[in-house]
Symmetry: C2
Subunit: 152 residues, 2 copies
DNA sequence: TGTGAAAGTCATTTACA
DNA sequence: TGTAAATGACTTTCACA
């Protein structure tokens, strides 16, 4: 599907704040409320807009510790890979998991309360998953930039 | 501020879908619409809910290529660090940038159209920033898990 | 905090350029 | 695609347990 300039502007606005009313959006884009409404419905139906979510502030909910973990598997048989991916996806501390190129197989983003909680996560959860060869963790010292808004 | 069990359930629901009506939420949590309304306002005012956003599907907007870049600076003087962080935050391809512990100084999440666009990004944008010592890129082969919902 | 009901605003549908 | 107007649903405020 082709996005025109208005669709793109609409997506930019909705990626910043999806609680804006169609009236507000119609003012910003010089269109009628109904036109905005129909465009948004179309973008939702096409799956371009995946979902609408509330983003929380980590620190305010006692999840201020963020770490990235590199993981290497012992073997790369279909069976090991599938099992690992299923188990890691079930860990609530793991917000993101990517299969990546390079020295390691996976990159995980982990979010917990503090260093002690991270230690427990590593010892009791992550390294309990079978087939993990080695891990290498990096701790986030500061968040320079963190957005979900993709440029269009 | 202390979150009770209802606040936590509310945040779990809003992290999944923030477009649910207060009536729907009130049914799920067995509370009145007004009670839900007041609790949400409180969570917004406290800054626990940071914002409400639309999440898009990368692939559908021609941004299917995701890479993580490690970056090491030449020097770590206050001046270099501040400049680097400001410039990297201005790059629209960089969705996330973290100052991290370990062998490298920063970890970036970059999203572009394809490998060729990534090459251009590296050559024309990223490595044009001064003070970068070395970089190491990892390409995302597949996304095993990607959520913004923090467990409470 | 909680509630139900009133007031005002918004999303959604319809008829039509 | 677009618009304006009607309707029903929702958010928001209020008076009160």
């Amino acid at each position: 599907m082709m996005l025109d300039s208005i669709d793109k502007q609409l997506l930019v606005l909705l990626q910043k704040d999806c609680k804006q009313t169609n009236k507000e959006l119609s003012n910003k884009l010089n269109l009628s409320v109904t036109a905005i409404y129909e465009r948004i419905k179309k973008l939702e139906k096409e799956g371009i807009i995946n979902k609408y979510v509330a983003l929380l502030k980590n620190e305010k909910i006692d999840k201020a510790f963020v770490a990235f973990c590199h993981i290497k598997l012992i073997q790369h048989s279909q069976e090991y890979v599938v099992k690992f991916e299923r188990e890691v996806a079930n860990l609530s501390e793991v917000l993101e998991c990517y299969h990546i190129s390079g020295d390691y197989d996976y990159l995980l983003k982990v979010i917990v309360k503090d260093m002690e909680a991270f230690r427990e996560f590593m010892v009791n959860k992550l390294t309990n998953i079978n087939h993990i060869g080695s891990t290498h963790s990096m701790f986030v010292i500061s968040e320079v930039k963190h957005t979900t808004g993709i440029n269009l």
